[in-house]
Amino acid sequence: MSSNKLLTLAEAAQRYAGDGIQYASGAGLPVGADAIAFGRELVRQGRRNLHALFHCNTQQLNLLAAAGTVDKAEVGFSGLEGFGFANGLRRVVEEGKLALEDYSNLAMALRFLGGALNWPFVPATTCIGSDIQHRSAFAPEQYPAIGKIPEISDPFSGRTLGAYSPLKPDLAVIHVTLADPEGNAIMIGSEWSRFELSRAAKRVVLVADHIVDTDCMRQYPNLVRIPGLIVDAVVWWPFSAWPAASPGVHDVDEAHMKLMNEWLATEEGTFRYIDRYIFSYQTVDAYLNLIGQDVISRLEDSPTRFLLDPYRQWILDRAKVEQLQAENHILKRAA
């Protein structure tokens, strides 16, 4: 193994996620895979003043917002799709505790692309002419906002366009289905903007459902959309997307999606949620017990299960993963 980047969840959060950073989540959409377990860890470790960049809101941002971990956020979408409005996020936005800057879903992907390419700006052919351009929660005194999506003119046609500001987050924590110990990764399901984000961020931490042998990546190199050479650390945490889904691995936990959103709607409910679903576990085993073995079996019985079949032969067993985590002296010494 040329470069073993496996870290525990707690170590990765300690090492890479400081207070006040620009923190980006690499996820599917609200119902799809997101490393929500990483957000739970940030709450446990008491992070403050994060500037969150979430292409779409997920239960992670809903939790971070409700818990007071984030005071600025930029999103393309702030709901939970079929699960309704994100009650924790909406509560702190309505109370004026969190400044939520709105973009569109294409805009967020393009802003990550612009960051990845080191472009000064990205031409905007959408969001212009709407209040996404005219109103800014980050510059509330300005109307219409002139610095959010400034008007520019196409140097060739003279047409009026907008300019999106590029994004280069301090840290991207990206959910992937499969990673090898070096950080080569395969995502199953919508990639959403994880390809662009992995190139835009200054640091990249992967949170994987399964750790696989590098031979898996050599078998499917075309599918390795995040290569290890841009990855800083790899975390193994099963069901890290729970209660959202991870295509190929497990379905969405409908009951917990609803419970979580209901509890986050109030401050008391948020305290109760943190107590019951964050402070109640430390280890992977305790986390899985919290979800419950019957629930896990039901969620794993997913109609997408077959998508994982080609890769199963390379999945490393838990003992091997923990051995690799323990052997990661290089990272530990540097820390």
Binding site: F77, N105, T125, C127, G129, D131
Partner: protein, 282 residues
């Protein structure tokens, strides 16, 4: 919700009136806007049902996509919880991402039709899904930006679809609070201030072709781009539509009652809406 009753013209298979809900009528009317073979993008919720109803009923060759980059999929087990839900991901033929779906396919101008929803819509088809502001406090509209009284979901990909799709169809429950003279926030542009206002921005997409509601169908006047009543349903009327619209809704001279759903349409819709989302009491 009252269940509407309509008599079916074709009585060869079944006797008696066909029962369907207002939400089902809206989904069927929106689905009728989609033609076979089109490249179509569906949003979450009702518009997914309307879109896949069209595929099931009269547009088997529709090329369906979601903004998550899930292509070639048909939902299984009921309405997907999201546009990337495993109920869709279980039989997709391609997974890409947002830049591909909303950029390469929508912003490029390739997509024929997009279905989007709305919390508020105004007479020029501008859509608000971002928030409701308390106007009595002078908040939100112009000048200083203040937090909304009620935060909604934001634009998502609907802004990009509204700018880029050749035409859009807006689906919305017809209530006065939703059909307003001026929306609190333009999340997704319709015809902006009307007329040729869209041309200022050179949008590649043509704008909303219809607002399909639980009471009828509104279409833009060819010049002013103000939405006028084009059709109502067997269970609604011009008066009812006007009473539920927050602006002085004008009525096209050709406005008429559109055909009630056929048995085949209702059956196709219910094959897609397995869990009966559209039949629930609200």
């Amino acid at each position: 919700m009252s269940t509407a009753t309509a008599t079916r013209a074709d009585t060869t298979e079944r006797k008696g009136p066909l029962r369907y809900s207002r939400q089902e009528m809206m989904a069927i009317a929106a689905g009728r806007e989609i033609k076979d073979g089109e490249l179509a993008i569906f949003g979450v919720g009702l518009s997914l049902l309307a879109g896949f109803f069209a595929q099931e009923h009269h547009a088997p060759n529709v090329r369906s996509m979601t903004e998550g980059g899930i292509y070639g999929a048909t939902p299984i087990g009921g309405l997907p919880w999201g546009i990337e839900c495993n109920r869709l991901s279980a039989n997709a033929t391609s997974f890409t991402g947002g830049l591909d779906a909303l950029g390469f396919l929508v912003a490029s101008g390739r997509v024929d039709v997009g279905l989007i929803g709305a919390a508020q819509v105004d007479k020029f088809g501008n859509v608000n899904t971002t928030g409701i502001w308390d106007r009595s406090k002078g908040n939100g509209l112009g000048e200083t930006y203040t937090p909304p009284k009620t935060r909604l979901t934001g634009a998502g990909g609907a802004n990009d679809i509204a700018c880029g799709a050749k035409r859009t169809v807006i689906m919305v429950t017809h209530e006065p609070k939703r059909f307003v003279d001026e929306v609190d926030y333009i999340s997704s542009p319709g015809y902006l201030e009307g007329g040729d206002a869209r041309e200022r921005y050179g949008f590649v997409g043509g704008g909303p072709a219809a607002i399909v509601t639980t009471l009828g169908i509104l279409r833009p006047h060819p010049e002013t781009k103000e939405f006028w009543l084009d059709a109502y349903y067997p269970f609604s009327s011009v008066d009812e539509v006007r009473a539920n619209t927050g602006w002085d809704l004008k009525v096209f001279r050709h406005a008429r009652m559109i055909a009630p759903p056929t048995v085949a349409e209702v059956e196709a819709l219910r094959r897609v809406d397995v869990t009966g989302m559209l039949r629930r009491e609200k």
